[in-house]
Amino acid sequence: MHPSRPFEPKNGFIKWFDRQLPLFTVMHGSLVAYPTPKNLNYWWSFGSLAGFMLGVQIITGIILAMHYTPNVDMAFGSVEHIMRDVNYGWLLRYVHANGASFFFIVVYIHIFRGLFYGSYKAPRELLWMLGLVILILMMATAFMGYVLPWGQMSFWGATVITNLFSAIPLVGNDIVTLLWGGFAVDNPTLNRFFSLHYLLPFVIAAVAFLHIWALHIPGSNNPLGIDVKGPQDQIDFHPYHTAKDLFMISALMVIFFGVVCFAPNYLGHPDNYIPADPLVTPPHIVPEWYFLPFYAILRSIPDKLLGVLAMFSAIIVLFLLPWLDSHKVRSGAFRPIFKQFFVLLVIDVIVLGVVGANPPEGSWLIIGRLATAYYFLHFLVVLPVLSRVEKARPLPESISQAVLAKH
């Protein structure tokens, strides 16, 4: 998307700077005069919200790292030091711990928005895949971050998850040893997890930069899923989206800050306030809520290797989505059958989350297996079939025409 108008600075310094390095021109073109479809709804703000949460996590994380000690004998105590002695340390830690959850909430909504409106379809396949890379990096970062307080769930979560890699034939055990830095989850594990937990957010930021770059080439998709036909379909990012996104950020803050101040441990597990003990296994080892659907898929399959493969496939299949769903119409709003299956997918993922939080036995196991089966059926069978047979409702001529008809 080319800027809607050229950058014409009046300030002498900016002119001089921009001649040598067109930083201001780039910012103007992508934040001010960046043309966006006129009809974006509130769901389109979640990308900005995700960027905001990444910023919150990086800033609070950097300050927390100034007070935290990555050593098995001191990590737990240093977190308590943050909670009790560091000025507003409790606030920093609760914002950071709940911030991870809110980052995932926002990103999951962002992903489902893309799934419904077909934002993964040409010409945005690469944009979609870069987003999935961010998701994978987020999962790795969040997992390692949860290990740092060195509570019981930290330790046993790390043990269970790192052990999954031992299912890989031939090199599995060597990989696990490498992850651990020894023969059990111990101090070297904590040290490398801390190092990587500090590194990966900056990798996320870099991929997010590519993600935004890839977005700005074709420009945003929109709720109608039809291409922009000209300037009459568009509006500049500033001031419309700046104002809209700022409002959405403040609304997110109301909810986020409410949880931080009134229920900061609601999303956590009480066992993580017990210091890690390699000799005592907690009765139920459960990952953080944002991993539960994947955990349910893992446990729905009785074979370890196949379970691990299924779990990773749950994300891999999303990389193939642009080709699995080859229906010409992007937006789910014009695909009546797709729409119903989409609702089913949302329910399915929520069910998987509930199953993941419960022990894999009795009816939970059966529900988990059915839900896992549907998850893959949806992407591998339902969408390819619908691509061929579903007749979409007629699309409007243009965005501006649809907007005019509505107002």
Binding site: K38, G77, E80, M83, R84, W90, L91, Y94, W156, T159, V160, N163, F183, A184, V185, D186, I235, D236, P239, Y240, A243, K244, L246, F247, S250, A251, M253, V254, F257, G258, V260, C261, F262, P264, N265, P270, D271, Y273, I274, P278, L279, V280, T281, P283, H284, I285, R299, P359, P360, E361, H407
Partner: protein, 269 residues
């Protein structure tokens, strides 16, 4: 070192196989709330009952501290509960803590505690703690009110939950009996607890004008104290939350109005 690895390896195998194990019918019972609930719960005006917390500290000091440490709490923190500086000094001086090495001889002697000291552990090391307690280290209580489902209500319930099991209840236990040296307590996961019933009516002498030291009263008091010990910034957090939530709602409203205005101007709706 080798032993440690083997043990860790075994624990690991146990950990991996555990999710496959069946759920016991001896899950902890839903904990009781004190009549009227906890004053530190809720959104507006949440506060610790300071009188109860002070009495609770007395219960901790005279009863729990015989076995349980409270290592993340320093004496100076007790000022939060309404003890004044002189009282905190006196409380600290009542505990012996490990001193600093003597600058001439290097000898380490115990000395009376000072406000900056943390509450000393009743045992010199975990091995000594285990040796005096049937091989199990009594857990540190600093975070007990956050480390169990139910929080302070869990502590409150366990302290009052000791009872003689009925034949039905015994049947649910592995082996059909309470193991030697353990006690029946339905509020504990597994319904068996190694700690002997710690409280009995009148065990602690409360000062003048204070309530009768019944088991229920002492359980309430010490649970309040431990709730504070686990989350000492709770009052500040909730006060701040209330203030900033109002502020954020106003900011949110203003930003919405400004968005709508801009939308009207640039989009026409």
């Amino acid at each position: 070192m080798k032993n440690k690895k083997i043990v860790a390896g075994l624990a690991l195998v146990a950990g991996l196989s555990l999710p496959a194990l069946a759920l016991a019918s001896t899950d902890a019972e839903e904990p009781m709330q004190p009549p009227g609930g906890w004053p530190q719960d809720g959104i507006i005006g949440a506060h610790f009952d300071r009188q109860a917390a002070q009495r609770g500290f007395q219960v901790y000091k005279e009863v729990c501290h015989n076995c349980h440490s409270l290592k993340y709490v320093a004496f100076r923190n007790l000022e939060d509960l309404g003890f004044n500086e002189a009282e905190v000094k006196a409380i600290a001086a009542g505990f012996m803590v490990q001193g600093e090495p003597d600058s001439d001889t290097g000898e380490v002697k115990d000395r009376p505690g000072k406000p900056f000291d943390h509450i000393p552990s009743p045992f010199p090391n975990p091995e000594a703690a285990a040796a005096s307690n049937n091989g199990a280290v009594p857990p540190d209580l600093s975070l007990m009110a956050k480390a169990r489902e139910g929080g302070p209500s869990h502590i409150y319930s366990v302290l009052q939950g000791y009872k003689t099991p009925t034949a039905e209840e015994l049947k649910e236990l592995p082996g059909g009996k309470v193991p030697e040296g353990s006690y029946y307590n339905p509020y504990k996961a597994g319904h068996v607890i190694a700690m002997p019933p710690p409280l009995s009516d009148g065990l602690v002498q409360y000062g003048d004008g204070q309530p009768q030291p019944t088991v229920q009263q002492m359980a309430y008091d010490v649970s309040t104290f431990l709730a504070w010990a686990a989350e000492p910034k709770l009052e500040q957090r909730k006060r701040m939350g209330f203030f900033y939530e109002i502020l954020l709602l106003i900011v949110c409203g203003l930003l919405f109005a400004s968005y709508k205005r801009i939308s009207k101007r640039v989009l026409g709706h």
